[in-house]
């Protein structure tokens, strides 16, 4: 970032040791210094840890506990009961071979998830590839990346309602198609449908694919690609055999982001689906609005379990910590 930094200490650090070795200190003094340093570091990290403990870990514990509580029409009852779970899976055995509501909902959610994931991956990869390999000037790279980032800093709700004037019954798309004589009455499936849900999800969350994939690509040694060319590989072969395998960490991290967001989403699916499409996140919201906290918590535990399954399957492929 700042190439002149090393100059600032030229002549000073030059003769100094580079690592963290304390060659001039005795063993005991070393461990004391380390202990004090470690304690001080612990103090520095403590406030953040406290926030996570109070507003993330403890709440998760409560979700798990409450999911096994009883409840009636208006309050939760602190007594062990699996009603939250049994109510959720109500009819799953009786209705066979038809699918019960909860399974249908999860299948629908997974389907939306899969569609969004494949589209964001395709678009995200292409955009990241363009930015990483075709933009040669650093300044332009920053400017174009910023261009992709700015919408991320603006409101999701507004980016959702922004589709209304385009896709609505009298929207631009319908008017244009009618004007061209392609259709004779407005297409109803453009807005408040699965189509608009996926469109909005892709619109909102492709950013989460672009950033990690770009981050992986930028680290690929350009000489590897030249070597592939020199060895006679076509552009396509280089892409498949060199670029994609080396971008895998970014692809996995981006996928984790997109999948977890879509699995738990209820806002986008609510607004863009006209509150008509059920999803895993929407069930929790509905239960909450009905003040059935244990049932909501049970659904949250189920959603959490499925999300963890997907993530652990994905992290088998790549060690996240190494990639930061």
């Amino acid at each position: 970032m700042n190439s002149s930094q090393p100059d600032a200490i030229s002549g000073l650090a030059a003769q100094k040791r580079r690592g963290k070795s304390f060659s001039g200190v005795t063993e005991i003094g070393l461990s004391m210094i380390q202990d004090r340093k470690s304690f001080f570091a612990w103090l520095q990290a403590a406030p953040m840890m406290l926030v996570f403990a109070l507003f993330f870990l403890l709440p998760l514990v409560f979700v798990t506990i409450v999911s096994a509580w009883d409840y009636n029409e208006y309050e939760m009852i602190p007594a062990f009961s699996l009603r939250g779970y049994t109510d959720t899976f109500e009819g799953c055995v009786a209705d066979l071979p038809d699918l019960c509501t909860i399974l249908k909902t999860y299948l629908k959610t997974l389907q939306l998830c899969l569609m969004t994931w494949s589209l964001t991956l395709l678009i995200g990869f292409t955009v990241a590839y363009f930015l990483a390999f075709h933009i040669r000037s650093k300044t332009w790279q920053i400017v174009l990346t910023l261009l992709c980032t700015i919408p991320f800093w603006t409101s999701n709700v507004i980016r959702m309602i922004a589709w209304i004037p385009l896709l609505g019954r009298n929207g631009l798309v319908n008017n244009a198609l009618e004007g061209m004589g392609l259709i004779h009455q407005p297409l109803e499936w453009l807005l408040f449908s699965e189509f608009s849900v996926v469109l909005a999800l892709v619109h909102l969350f492709t950013f989460f694919m672009v950033v990690p994939i770009f981050n992986s690509m930028i680290r690929i040694d350009k000489r590897l690609i030249e070597a592939a060319y020199d060895a006679g590989a076509t552009g396509w072969q280089t892409l498949v055999n060199v670029v994609i395998p080396l971008s895998k960490p970014g692809i996995v991290i981006g996928s984790i982001f997109v999948i977890t967001i879509v699995m738990g989403d209820f806002v986008t699916i609510g607004v863009m689906g006209g509150e008509q499409i059920a999803s895993a996140g929407k069930i929790i919201e509905t239960r909450l609005n009905a003040l059935q906290f244990p049932a909501a918590a049970a659904n949250a535990v189920i959603l959490l379990g499925i999300t963890i399954l997907i993530i652990s399957a994905l992290t088998r492929i790549v060690d996240i910590r190494k990639e930061l």
Binding site: M48, M49, T126, P151, R159, T206, L304, T307
Partner: protein
Amino acid sequence: MGEKRSRSFYVLAAFFAAYVLFLYGPMFAIYILSFQGPDGGLTFPMNGVSLHWFSKVFSGTGIVDIGAAFRRSLELGLVVMVLTVILSVSAGMAFRKSFSGATFLFYVAIASLIMPSIITSLGIALEFRLFDDFMIKNGAEGWTTAMGLFTSGLGAHLTWTLPFGLLIMFAIFNRFDSRLEEAARDLGATPWQTFRHVVLPIILPSVVGIGLFGFTLSWDELARSSQAIGSVNTLPLELQGLTTTVTKPDIYALGTLTSAVSFLVIFLALIVILVLQARQRRHGSDAGKGMV
């Protein structure tokens, strides 16, 4: 990679341009439509040009008290921003040394980042509800609720902004030359002096970036706040509520105003970052020439 632009460059450039259009197009549609004339509707064509819908938002007629929600979101966003910056920088410094629980904190931050928001939100709501029940049962006089904008709401926002702050700190320190700190120590600087006069000036542009993330993520936060905000709503929550009921362009005017605040903050942050970087380059060039 030859020197001449290949055909794939133009194909990909067209794809990128289409993506940018896809990103910005719909947003610009509502920015334009918010200037719809008094008789205009939710879609094109424009029925005259006016500030009618903006004045409607400001006078508060028709829709809920937007001014109050606007102020609440702004206050919360600023508090979240300050806390995100302080806690992230502090924890980021801690991660450069080893401390017990470092790996744990890292994984908790990642988990908080990717946890479906509705679960976090539900958990915080349950936590506060159980706490309230406990207080009432144990005879706290006139206890109503601990839930609120700056308790549960603030906590919910921090679970979302802090992971971003921490990851940015990691990115900063991955590129940080730690010999600078050693040099400062060798010259007799205390840890605080080292931080204040050596580390902070170097990382400052990125710290502004953390502040930018802190504010904008809070300003636009919706899913995590939804269950955990208590009796009052933030602006995004009001907006979401309006999507199902409003049939007039005042929702666009409100959207334009909200975006204007976002853009203003982004613009200011980028300016500050650029100024700081320029200053760094200027001062950096003096380095090593014996100047203090």
